[in-house]
């Protein structure tokens, strides 16, 4: 019967005893009496368990605190290492190419800036629309300008033609032929374009007649 109250009861002995107890009333009553006595003697308010429970609670709190501190320390460590790594990368870049970090903008940077501008923001027109207004200007002055612009050579047949004064508006968008035709519309002025030579003649009243 004492085996049933042992710490590690042999399962075979326990089964045999229980089988016998179930059949034998006298043994069952004897076992129940011993069981009741054992329950009376077993510790139920042991201060050791309370102390250990308090200790285990404190330990678990300490371990949680320790885990939180560990996570925080890892996070700070990672941030610190990444910061050092970024700083090292910047230092290496500066050592390899210090011009990029110089405060004054270089020519390359300016070029990059201009290339990066969109075409619709250009402040100058790509098509020249310049118009020259001549107010009582001599024909020599007008034709000299035209010859320089259209790359022509002037051939003056009459020196008197150089002194003729005109009110004329020269549109530089016109072709050389158009400009010559416009000037030929003036009375007495006769211009003739042959290759790149512009021959200038002044018709007299007689010849005009």
């Amino acid at each position: 019967m004492a085996d049933l109250f042992d710490k590690n009861v042999d399962p075979q002995i326990k089964a045999e005893c229980e089988e016998h107890i179930s059949q034998c009333t006298e043994c069952r009553e004897y076992y129940e009496d011993l069981f009741t006595t054992a329950e009376v003697l077993r510790p139920k308010h042991s201060p050791v368990n309370k102390n250990n429970a308090l200790l285990s609670t404190e330990e678990s709190l300490q371990s949680k605190n320790f885990q939180f501190r560990k996570i925080a320390a890892i996070f700070v460590g990672v941030m610190l290492l990444s910061g050092i790594a970024l700083a090292a990368i910047q230092v290496i870049r500066f050592v390899n190419n210090p011009e990029v970090f110089s405060p004054s903008p270089s020519k390359d940077m300016q070029l990059v800036y201009h290339h990066s501008m969109p075409t619709d923001t250009l402040d100058t027109d790509t098509i020249p629309t310049e118009v020259v207004r001549y107010n009582e200007a001599t024909l020599e002055q007008i034709l000299t300008d035209m010859a320089g612009y259209y790359t022509l050579r002037l051939n003056w047949q009459n020196n008197e033609a150089k002194t003729v004064r005109l009110f004329y508006v020269w549109d530089k968008s016109q072709t050389v032929i158009e400009s010559v035709e416009m000037l030929n519309m003036f009375e007495r002025i006769h211009l003739e374009l042959t290759d790149s030579v512009l021959t200038v003649d002044l018709q007299t009243n007689k010849s005009h007649q």
Partner: protein, 171 residues
């Protein structure tokens, strides 16, 4: 070699403390009726064990058996010493910071009164079984008695306690 021996002994004591301290504390607690005294006694037992191992030339075959024999003797000595000590309270007011040991004290008194009606050798087997959480084989080793004797002391002790309980109820 000596250093290795010291570390080896410390390691053995540490393992023993982890495995046995709680059980020893509970045994001492139900033997002495006081958790503070129980802690002192258990600590003294481990100190004695360390001193004995550190002194050398002494081989302890079964550490657990040695611990519980020493613990039982220390508890008896403690009880003998405290028997002549009368504790006089400064005032009758209860200590507000004292732990709530009322339940334990009542339980201790009840259990101790039941164990006092049986022979001490039978009570010791029951104490080791219930409060030291030892098996009958371990109890036999600690008390240096045959296994059958340990079991019979347990059974006889329990029967006497049962009869004492019935007698007190009938009175």
């Amino acid at each position: 070699m000596k250093l290795f021996s010291i570390h080896h002994n410390l390691d053995r004591i540490e393992k023993l403390m982890v495995a046995e301290r709680q059980k020893m504390l509970q045994y001492a607690c139900y033997r002495l009726g006081n958790i503070d005294d129980a802690e002192d006694v258990v600590q003294d037992v481990f100190v004695k064990l360390y001193q004995r191992l550190h002194g050398g030339n002494v081989e302890i075959r079964n550490m657990t058996v040695y611990l519980y024999r020493t613990l039982a003797n220390a508890c008896v000595s403690n009880l003998r010493d405290n028997r002549h000590t009368t504790i006089v309270s400064i005032d009758n007011q209860p200590d507000p910071i004292a732990p709530e040991t009322d339940d334990f004290e009542q339980e201790y008194r009840r259990i101790n009164s039941l164990l006092n009606i049986i022979p001490d050798e039978q009570a010791e087997v029951i104490r080791l079984r219930f409060y030291g959480d030892k098996s009958f084989q371990e109890i036999a080793d600690i008390l240096n008695i045959p296994l059958t004797t340990a079991k019979s002391r347990f059974t006889y002790g329990m029967e006497k306690i049962k009869r004492g309980m019935c007698a007190s109820l009938s009175v």
